[in-house]
């Protein structure tokens, strides 16, 4: 007991020391990076003393990691940061109301991928170009050109002005928590939709583990299957926003996907949110999941029970090709902010090379957007999980995303259609409606919602 207590004390002491060292190093890095020509004055005065920044992002792994680094910024600048990370739907609803009412409660906000068209289109964020072009506000070695062009492109308006700095380029891929069960059944990571169906049949309930578990946000997790069957959400976004959810291709895709859920998912599969999916996979209570890379890499985390059995692959291909989702989120400054310059300082700090590198090295942050860091040995090392190279999957998927099939997602009325897709897949998987009836209903309801939005089809 005494030894245990001592060991605990030591661990705490070590942790505190590491934390202090980290804070000191980070503060020095941030101070040097942040304030070109505005280094902290002699005598301890800090440039943002007395400034309070209110910052929010949805509870992504990155946003939660950043919580531990924010004190570095506060230490370096003297600013007080109120930082919050509610869940994805709560964040979007709260911020949508905040932005639409011209509120000034926040200084830095995440620009959510599916709200890009709406939030930027409505002028609720300020363009960042004036900050980027001002050497007093953005040091030369910050290198805005280092960010993946595909990620930054999503945050530009038609005239090319940039409204957010991307902190993630999340890709849709596939992971198996218990790949050993695949091997025992003579299966490999499936590369096609048929291969998935075949493998799920083979591994389902092996060791009592259900085979298939995507997150229940089907407006994200189902779309690669929809497009893989040759379907789409809109006819030709952004020019023609007519929903096309009741085409034979869309119905076949929904039927196929819902059958996987029904036949190989855990009990209550349609109630699993993204955080539940990650926890279930890490605990080894479900096996294969097509999902975002930021979630799947956590299978290799220290607290994961499947770190030694997991495997990964690209999103499987359908009869019409491979269409893995590519999503990006970025830091922006809301138009109502009263501390825009300080907000920009926070963004430049949070997206600086030293801080991102620190997050990669220390915490294994895996969804970065700076090309120089993606090519770095540190990143490649961290993204080799259980001996499997995720960097290649990452880069190959981002390259695929550049083909333009993700255009549907930044349409400002996509959230309306997204909800209809959720409902349709739930209706099919829970046996309430056939695929044809559910997708026809989704089509009609989407048309009604778009009409309500004033879109003429």
């Amino acid at each position: 007991m005494g030894k245990e207590g001592e060991a605990k004390k030591m661990t705490l002491l070590e942790r505190r020391l590491r934390r202090r060292q980290l804070l000191r190093a980070g503060a020095a890095a941030a101070g040097a990076l942040l304030l070109p020509g505005r280094a902290p004055a002699q005598g301890g005065a800090k440039p943002l003393s007395g400034t309070t920044l209110n910052i929010a992002c949805w509870s992504s792994p990155y946003a939660k990691l950043l919580t531990d680094y924010v004190p570095q910024f506060e230490e370096a600048t003297g600013a007080k940061v109120n930082y919050e990370t509610p869940s994805f739907p709560i964040y979007n609803q709260r911020i949508d109301v905040e932005l639409s009412t011209g509120g000034s409660s926040y200084d830095v906000l995440n620009v959510t991928f599916i709200y890009i068209g709406r939030w930027i289109g409505a002028g609720w964020f300020v363009p960042l170009d004036p900050y980027l072009k001002d050497p007093q506000k953005t040091p030369a070695d910050w290198e805005p050109g280092d960010f993946l062009p595909g990620a930054t492109a999503a945050f530009k308006d038609p005239s090319g002005r940039l409204y957010a700095i991307p902190w993630t380029a999340d890709i849709y891929m596939a992971g198996a928590a218990r790949y050993d069960l695949f091997e025992k059944s003579g299966k490999t990571m499936p590369d096609t939709f048929d291969g998935v169906a075949d493998a799920m049949k083979a591994v389902h309930m092996k060791d009592g583990i259900p085979a298939f578990l995507p997150e229940n946000h089907y407006g994200w997790s189902f779309i690669p299957w929809l497009q893989g069957f040759g379907g789409n959400v809109f006819r030709d976004p952004p020019e023609d926003l007519t929903p096309v959810l009741d085409t034979p291709e869309a119905i076949a895709a929904a039927d196929f996907f819902a059958k996987l859920l029904r036949d190989y998912g855990p009990d209550g599969v349609i109630s699993y949110t993204y955080d539940q999916v990650v926890a279930t996979l890490k605990a080894g209570r479900a096996n294969y999941s097509p999902n975002g890379q930021i979630f799947l890499v956590q299978l290799g985390a220290k607290d994961s029970k499947v770190a030694g059995t997991c495997n990964f692959s690209m999103c499987p291909a359908g009869p019409k090709g491979r269409f893995p989702g590519v999503a990006t989120h970025g830091w922006g400054i809301p138009a109502g902010s009263n501390n825009k310059d300080a907000a920009w300082q926070f963004i430049t700090w949070a997206m600086s090379k030293p801080i991102i590198r620190q997050m990669v090295v220390e915490r294994g942050y895996s969804s970065i957007t700076r090309r120089s860091l993606i090519d770095s040995p540190e990143f490649k090392g961290k993204l080799t999980v259980n001996g499997h190279d995720i960097v290649k999957i990452y880069l190959d998927t981002i390259a695929l995303g550049a083909q333009g099939y993700m255009k549907y997602r930044t349409i400002y009325v996509y959230p309306q259609v997204d909800k209809q897709i959720d409902i349709a897949i739930q209706n099919i998987a829970s046996g309430q409606l056939s695929a044809t009836a559910a997708m026809t209903q989704a089509q009609q309801d989407s048309l009604a919602e778009l009409k309500r939005a004033g879109i003429k089809l």
Binding site: S271, P415, I423, S430, Q432, E449, A453
Partner: protein
């Protein structure tokens, strides 16, 4: 048959009505003082209760969407939202779901609350402690209740599902099954709110004088007869009031639905206020959402009036 002259009726009425001039000065001053004293509070009350309601109704006459701020003053088709609602399948479905949920929760909460109150209606320290324990669900934050039931209803981690499986009665996920999802929410809601009925009924039971109960017992009344002829008539108005409160509250059910089912599977648990929330805050159709909310307010007012009448009539019968 006697013919009654209208003029004689008028005279009689005038005689009954106290003459204004009959009021002494000090009384008039007192009234004026009360009026001026209460006026500021009344004005504030009107401003914070009626103001938002009026704004809600006005907004419901517009296609307000914050992306297009000018739509706040667009009254070109004032009943457009209401017309669209009448043809909106999801809205009509949400009304049906709301009716089912309200009926189930009110009946269950009255039955369980009444039953537990009858069991606990005795003077003992043990029962007092039990009463306190029963009140706990009601005082927990609703979101905590929702999280507790999310765990209970998630087969993967649920102690309830494990226990049922252990005794050979495995049950599939209740919240992912459209046939049981609404029932699961009703059970969770009942767990949270039956203490309200229980407390009200207990208070009412403890107000009943001992004489009629003793007299009935002497006359040989059994427990059932005692309840039917003595206790129930006493507590009936309380049950009506409790039912009214629970009915109105059931229309506000939100955290349980948000956390447990998100309105699903499909739209199986999408009640009207949840649908209003989706339209208003997921899609930002504030005008449309306001129209749904306005209809809900009207419905609740109508219900309150109707059940209030029932209560008055019940008391008059007594």
């Amino acid at each position: 048959m006697l013919a009654v002259q209208p003029s004689s009726i008028k005279r009689a009425a005038e005689n009954r009505r106290p003459a204004r001039t009959a009021l002494p000065n000090w009384r008039r001053e007192q009234r004026r003082a009360f009026t001026f004293g209460l006026l500021p509070a009344l004005l504030v009350l009107v401003a914070i209760t009626l103001g938002p309601t009026i704004y809600l109704i006005v907004t419901s006459l517009t296609p307000l969407d914050p992306v297009h701020p000018h739509s706040a003053a667009d009254f070109s088709d004032p009943i457009g939202n209401y017309r669209a609602l009448m043809a909106d399948r999801r809205f009509l479905n949400s009304l049906e779901v709301q009716l089912k949920l309200s009926a189930a929760t009110v009946v269950l909460q009255l039955a369980v609350g009444l039953g537990v109150a009858l069991l606990l209606n005795a003077g003992s320290r043990f029962l007092e402690a039990v009463r306190t324990a029963f009140i706990l669900p009601m005082v927990l934050p609703p979101i905590v209740v929702a999280v507790v039931w999310k765990v209970i209803f998630t087969p993967d981690v649920s102690p309830m599902h494990r226990a049922l499986t252990a005794i050979g009665l495995p049950v599939h996920s209740l919240i992912a099954n459209p046939d049981t999802a609404l029932g699961a929410i009703a059970v969770a809601d009942t767990w949270e709110w039956f203490p309200f009925t229980m407390l009200m009924v207990l208070a009412s039971l403890q107000m009943i004088p001992a004489e009629p109960i003793d007299a009935a017992r002497i006359d040989g009344a059994g427990r059932l007869a005692l309840f039917r002829y003595i206790l129930f008539p006493y507590i009936r108005p309380t049950l009506v009031v409790a039912g009214l409160f629970r009915l109105i509250d059931s229309i506000k059910a939100f955290p349980l639905i948000y956390v447990l089912t998100n309105g699903g599977p499909g739209t199986a648990t999408e009640v009207t206020n949840y649908y209003a929330f989706v339209e208003s805050f997921n899609f930002s159709y504030w005008g449309y959402g306001s129209a749904i909310a306005t209809l809900m307010v009207a419905g609740v007012l109508l219900l309150s009036w109707f059940i209030g009448r029932l209560g008055v009539e019940a008391e008059r019968d007594d």
